[in-house]
């Protein structure tokens, strides 16, 4: 049992004035109406609620409402986070109602979705919220029953005092518990005593989703609201010059056409305020179709931007970026990357004497890899509801990190941040894109200008062409082998437009005596940002393809080759800043080797292996490919994951299946190119997304069993699948894959 001081985040356990017993927080009624409740559940609704802390309230009949703090975009935290609270509260999961907390950092801490850090960051605080509430219930019972609190046990929402035979439901003591002081410290359960954590629990929103209930930001509706859309420049490197709105304004149902400037000149941008198009045109009307039609009648002149610099004050401190003028094209990008990759980069890490080792090598293998820009393409396009009513602001937006957009909204509107209320409806996907919430600023500015509640919606074309894209990347790897085929030196030089993807301290750093890592970047005016496992989503595929090729050149089994390197890193690590645990890394490789029956080859089944560590979790895949009339078909993916304790196993398997399928889709088809600044794909007719027939026929997921605190699942299984598919394609065709997308528009290989 671990004893945890509640001081960290204890403020959020204090009863808040905004969440009083029986009352609902402002704006909750809409989300509450989205809860799907069976008749029995409605019948069982309590007459009175008692708020125990900001995360939970208990009804007089023992039903518990848990406010889940973080935004949901498909990673299933609306189920797994309440599970953490319910576990320590020791309540029957069937009697838990989950509601989405609104944006309220004092009550709910840092509410975010990203970096696969949700469960990891909430692991202790949410269990403490449950454990402290349980303690308060026990204390209340002890006082009434006149027995020592230590003698009171709990079980599935019941309080027991064995010696006197007394038993009561939580509901009976909810009122008294609400007045018990929050404990200074609480005891948390041992892993072996978990009843909810580690057992698969169904998605709490499953029923609402399959019934088509209005859960998503795009579904948000308020009586009297107007629909807004935006027109942004057709090309990166352009901005607004002038508008002729006469034809558009004359269209039926149109209320207004306005120019929007998203940032005040003195506004200091944060790390998630990326936005290539701060000056745009908004069109506002009565209905979506009317606005869509009128949008086509806008006559807008655009002009090229001037070169400038932009200072960003983000998590890494202040950084100044050069934004060049000009209309960029992918053909030029490729030529620029080739040229810069041929020069020396900035040395980020150097161990031993790589230059000498390469000079004395018996064999040198050098390969270059590249990948294009990618668009996120969440199924739900960007959208936000805003109602600016005088100096009060109400927002309901599909958004990953509410707190980080507040400064831009406040600055843009000239309204203090504390006057901004935000609901966090479900997101129809995000993949990083909805962390960059300029669209929320736009909605707020539009609402203020037209003085009405407004829902801003992006068309698919707007969403795809106003991207905060995954950058295009390039990496060159070199390995030196001695005459006994031992790898004696390793060199990686990686760069991209406009950022480098390099992680200099990741494997194989630490496993090789002579190691050199360099990076470079090329400025661009195309906006980029986080995309499911940023940078790792390229580096893993390149590195794992390269190691496969080196293992083959050394005449070694690709899994054993990696394990031998990890053994070196574990027993005799090189350098001091190695960002991985070699034992756990080897653990997933060993598990996938066993579960995939590695080494037992089947006729016409081509296997590729890959492993990676990022976002605090280890993942390894063995992918089985068959060729059908020249088309690669993924028969099976066997996956091993070490994310510590698995909170909700079936949901974690679902995440893994999705990451694998998403990764294969992006490896095969994912690509956004530019011509004179214009994105060459605007919708799903051209931008190819993996479809059912192309997805793996079977996916088999295994978790390393341990009691390490849980880490993330949204991103880690994604990056290594790029390497697994590339290595299997090599086995199938005899040709290595160096440049994504591996298939593009090709239907068959060879």
């Amino acid at each position: 049992m671990s004893i945890i001081k509640t001081a960290v985040g204890r403020r959020s356990f204090l009863k808040s004035t905004t969440l009083t017993g029986g009352g609902m927080m402002l704006g909750f009624s809409w989300l509450a109406s989205c809860q799907s409740k069976s008749e029995e559940e409605i019948m069982a609704m309590p007459k009175e609620w008692f708020e125990i802390n900001s995360y939970l309230k208990i009804g007089d009949n023992g039903v518990v409402t848990i406010y889940t703090p973080n935004p949901e975009f498909g990673q299933n935290v609306r189920t797994s986070m309440p599970m953490l609270i319910a576990e320590e509260l020791d309540v029957d999961w069937k009697r838990v109602i989950v509601e989405q907390a609104p944006y309220h950092p004092e009550n709910f801490g840092f509410q975010f979705t990203g970096g696969s850090r949700g469960i990891m960051s909430r692991w202790e605080p949410l269990r403490m919220a449950g454990a402290s509430a349980r303690h308060m219930l026990r204390e209340a019972a002890a006082q009434l029953w006149q027995v020592p609190v230590d003698e009171i046990t709990t079980d599935g929402g019941l309080l027991h005092h064995v010696a006197t035979g007394k038993t009561a439901g939580y509901g009976e003591f909810a009122s008294a518990a609400a007045n018990i002081p929050v404990p200074e410290e609480v005891k948390l359960k041992d892993v072996k005593d978990f009843k909810i954590i580690g057992k698969s629990q169904k998605n709490v929103d499953g029923k609402a989703i399959v019934k088509g209930d209005p859960l998503f930001g795009f579904d948000y509706h308020k009586e009297g609201m107007l629909i807004a859309m935006i027109e942004h420049p057709p090309a990166f490197g352009m901005t607004l010059k002038s508008i002729d709105d006469s034809a558009a304004k004359a269209m039926p149902g149109i209320r207004d056409v306005i120019a929007i400037k998203s940032y005040q000149d003195d506004f200091e941008k944060g790390g998630f305020d990326a936005n290539a198009f701060p000056e745009i045109v908004a069109i506002v009307g009565n209905s979506t179709w009317e606005v869509m039609q009128a949008k086509k009648q806008l006559r807008i002149e655009w002009k090229e931007i001037e070169s400038h610099t932009e200072t960003i004050n983000g998590f890494r401190g202040k950084e100044t970026k050069n934004i060049p003028a000009g209309l960029e094209s992918s053909a030029d990008h490729r030529a620029q990357m080739q040229e810069v990759a041929g020069r020396h980069g900035k040395i980020v890490r150097k161990d031993g004497d790589p230059e000498t080792a390469f000079r004395h090598a018996a064999k040198i293998i050098e390969r270059s890899y590249s990948a294009p820009f990618l668009a996120h393409n969440s199924m739900e396009p960007l959208n936000a509801f805003a109602h600016v009513d005088g100096d009060k602001v109400h927002i309901a937006a599909a958004i990953q990190i509410p707190s980080l957009i507040i400064p831009a909204i406040a600055s843009g509107l000239g309204i203090p941040p504390e006057n901004i209320e935000m609901e966090i409806p479900r997101m129809g996907g995000g993949f990083g894109r909805k962390a960059y919430a300029h669209y929320v600023v736009e909605a707020a500015l539009i609402s203020q200008r037209v003085n009405a509640p407004v829902k801003l919606v992006y068309t698919r074309e707007d969403d795809m062409t106003n991207g905060i894209y995954r950058p295009t990347y390039h990496a060159t790897y070199r390995a030196a082998l001695d005459e006994n085929n031992n790898m004696i030196a390793f060199h990686v030089k990686a760069g991209g437009i406009p950022e480098s993807p390099l992680f200099a301290n990741r494997f194989p750093a630490g496993a090789i005596q002579n190691y050199l890592a360099e990076e470079w970047s090329i400025d661009s005016n195309i906006s980029i940002g986080a995309f499911r496992a940023p940078r790792s989503n390229f580096m893993a595929g390149a590195e794992q393809s390269f190691l496969d090729e080196v293992a083959e050149a050394a005449g070694k089994d690709p899994i054993q080759f990696r394990l031998d390197m990890l053994k070196q890193a574990q027993e005799n690590p090189v350098g001091e800043r190695n960002d991985y645990d070699a034992e756990r890394y080897a653990g997933v490789l060993e598990l996938v080797r066993e579960k995939s029956a590695w080494g037992q080859n089947q006729a016409n089944v081509h296997r590729g292996v890959s492993a990676y560590f990022c976002h605090n979790t280890y993942a390894a895949h063995v992918l089985d490919l068959i060729m059908e009339a020249g088309k690669p078909v993924v028969q099976n993916v066997c996956c091993a994951i070490d994310c510590g304790i698995v909170v909700n196993p079936d949901a974690a398997i679902n995440m893994t299946e999705g990451a694998i399928t998403d990764g294969i889709g992006n490896a095969f088809y994912g690509e956004l190119t530019f011509k004179d600044g214009v994105p060459e794909k605007k919708n799903f007719d051209k931008y190819r997304i993996i479809r059912m027939a192309e997805a793996p026929k079977n996916i088999d997921v295994h978790f390393v069993q341990n009691e390490i605190n849980p880490t993330g699942m949204g991103e880690p299984p994604f990056p290594p699948i790029f390497g697994a598919i590339a290595n299997a394609m090599y086995k199938a065709t005899g040709e290595r894959q160096y440049h994504q997308p591996f298939l593009g528009s090709k239907e068959v290989l060879g």
């Binding site: 299933n76 209930d213 209905s287 179709w289 399928t661 993996i690 026929k697």
Partner: protein, 152 residues
Amino acid sequence: MANFNLNINGKEYTVEVDPSTPILWVLRDHLQLFGTKYGCGIAQCGSCTIHLGGIAMRSCILPVSQVGSQPVTTIEGLSENGDHPLQEAWLAHDVPQCGYCQSGQIMNAAALLSANPKPSDEEIESAMHGNICRCGTYTRIKAAIKTASASK
């Protein structure tokens, strides 16, 4: 603008809209039936799938003027209590991740099973080709369709 009498999920509605308005936006903007989703607007993703006279249609490109008297079924009207065999199979397999495409997936699958109650894997893949799931839940969607098919 013109008046259109529509039969949606067994109820009669009259809406006054431009005849070119896709039924998707009539459902969402005028009738506040939000289960049918906008994904692409060009019939490439399947999120907006409804049934028109029992046939799966992409509502984003179907003008209201072409609906006529044919009954429209949306996800809200697929079953009384969300207990269509596909909806139950979806829950049994805990299919959704973000969930946005799932009503379109279910409506498309329901039309498939109406026409072909026991589809093969290949027939499922072929029928579901027009429905994108960006989260990549295809293996579960297929499994759920097979479960629903077996339960019939």
